[in-house]
């Protein structure tokens, strides 16, 4: 499919997914009600639900999906590995340990956020410091360092889950599976997405070159070391921002870039905006279903990203020659 057509299709999908998210939930609203609530100054329940709950929620879902998909594209280019996702370098592991430890100690939301942020930061710095030693940019070492650190964090997460009791466990599981109900820091997240996204599009030509091999990229005039460090920190910032919004929501960062690739788009100039748009719309859809299906109970969105995405990707994969 031509990237331009795909871009137009996805541009149409954005308002559709957002309105779907605004209409549905424990209190279903008709399109006309949504319209009036958005425009009017009425003081009815619909207006309150929409402005206080739904609009921030769908915007959070969209930006979170975009952040994860963009981070996935950048990491797949950096690691030159199709299995790379935003969590492969141990950033989410560090954040999970931080968040769960705070929860175990009975900390409030703000402290939990701060703690998970600290964990993510420590993991990011540790992986970069250990993986990129002596100025020698060895991608395999970086990748393995991340995977090993993730495994260590996984063990700590299991330990924390074992130590936790009753209600605590549920909160922890929601964090681990990804949950957008406590999303905070929305303006910052949008700023990061737009800033990193536009930089990535501007420098997309270098990403294409980098994906073709490190020596080749250097021979074609790319300052490989600086690019790698830049990509690593850009992806880390995106991932940390997404983790702060919705915990570790799986599947989006790994699979959305592949979905776009399977549709025949490979140039990063297109891959970046298309993945971001698709990731955003997809997460809005998944999050709305998570609110609808068991309403008024809300399920972790991570369940639905996988349930929705797996059949689509399997179909795309089997369709390919």
């Amino acid at each position: 499919m031509s990237p331009r057509v795909l871009f137009l299709l996805l541009l149409c999908a954005v308002p559709l997914s957002l309105s779907f998210g605004l209409m549905n939930g424990s209190l279903p609203l008709a399109p006309i009600e949504v319209w009036y609530a958005l425009l009017g100054n009425n003081e009815d329940t619909a207006t309150e639900v929409l402005w206080q709950l739904r609009l921030p929620r769908v915007l959070a879902a969209f930006v979170c999906g975009g952040l994860l998909a963009l981070s996935g594209v950048l990491l797949q280019a950096l690691l030159r590995n199709p299995l790379a996702d935003p969590y492969i370098l141990g950033i989410s592991g560090g954040a999970a340990v931080g968040a769960l430890a705070a929860m175990l100690l009975g900390a409030g939301l703000a402290t939990t956020q701060l703690s998970s942020f600290t964990g993510a930061l420590l993991a990011t710095v540790a992986v970069f410091g250990l993986g990129f030693q002596h100025g020698e940019r060895n991608i395999y070492r970086l990748l393995l360092t991340g995977v090993v650190l993730s495994a260590g964090c996984g063990a700590l997460v299991s330990l924390l889950l074992t130590l936790a009791q009753g209600e605590q466990v549920k909160g922890m599981l929601f964090w681990l599976m990804g949950d957008l109900s406590h999303a905070q820091g929305l303006p910052f997240a949008w700023f990061m997405l737009l800033a990193v996204g536009s930089c990535a599009i501007v420098w997309s030509g270098g990403l294409d070159v980098l994906a073709g091999g490190l020596d080749k990229a250097a021979a074609l005039g790319v300052a490989v070391g600086r690019w790698q460090a830049g990509l690593y920190f850009a992806a880390a910032v995106l991932t940390v921002t997404a983790l702060q919004l919705g915990g570790s929501i799986g599947f989006v960062g790994l699979m959305i870039p592949h979905a776009i690739r399977l549709l025949g788009v490979n140039a990063h100039r297109w891959l970046i905006p298309l993945s971001t748009l698709l990731g955003g719309s997809f997460l809005v859809l998944a999050d709305t279903l998570a609110r609808m299906v068991w309403s008024p109970l809300q399920l972790p969105v991570g369940i639905f990203t996988a349930l929705l995405g797996v059949p689509v990707l399997l179909w795309l994969l089997s369709r390919r020659r």
């Binding site: 420098w203 270098g206 070159v209 073709g212 020596d215 005039g221 300052a223 140039a267």
Partner: protein, 256 residues
Amino acid sequence: MQAFLEARKLTVAIGAKMICHELDLVVRPGECWGVLGQNGVGKTTLLRTLAGLHMPQSGMVSWNGVVLTAQTRRNLARHLGVLLQNEGGEFWGSVQEYVLLGRFPHRASLFGYSVQDEALAQQALAQMELEGLAQQPYNTLSGGEQQRAAIAQTLAQQVQCYLLDEPLQHLDLRHQAQTMQVFSRLKEQGCALMMVLHDTLWAQRCCDHVLMQFADGHVLHGTAQELLTRTHLEALYQCSLRELSVEGERWFVAGV
């Protein structure tokens, strides 16, 4: 004549293995160098060092009188092209997009390649007889076709000096001849070339200079005429060779 590429007192070693010791080398415009040596003597490493992709133990390499390390990679890539052996890079796009990457160092706009860039990529595709495959995904090509695409990418770079690591690998006879013809034309236009070869016949036909690398790090270089002899080649490959003369050309065949 001014030197394009110059190595001064260049010492390269990997671990205990000496690749070259205090090598002095000058490559001038319009020269074509053949690099010969047994497998594993470090021909690729030497080429990578000359391209600034590998740090030497001591000594320096300069391009146009300026040390490589004092130049940006981008500036260097506008003048110096490198064809690498099995890059191991995965490329997801089409052959045309792959060849177009050769224009990256010349790209004026951040947002894409110009019409001229695309025309030069097209011309390079035509030179390597790849027009028919231009729209195919790169990773569906055969080994020889991928090699031709890699050469086309380097040609699209339009540089003054080409460092080519086994440019003829995987190529069939027709494309070997055609590729060497393209290189000869570049040489006539005043470009400098340095290529790793295993075929002494192509070295005789196309190279005016030869660099021989020995296993102990000893390097012999000079004109093709004085070095492409049976004595030198037997010492280089450490086997006895038979010299045949066919239509005025000397063939060196390893004795069994």
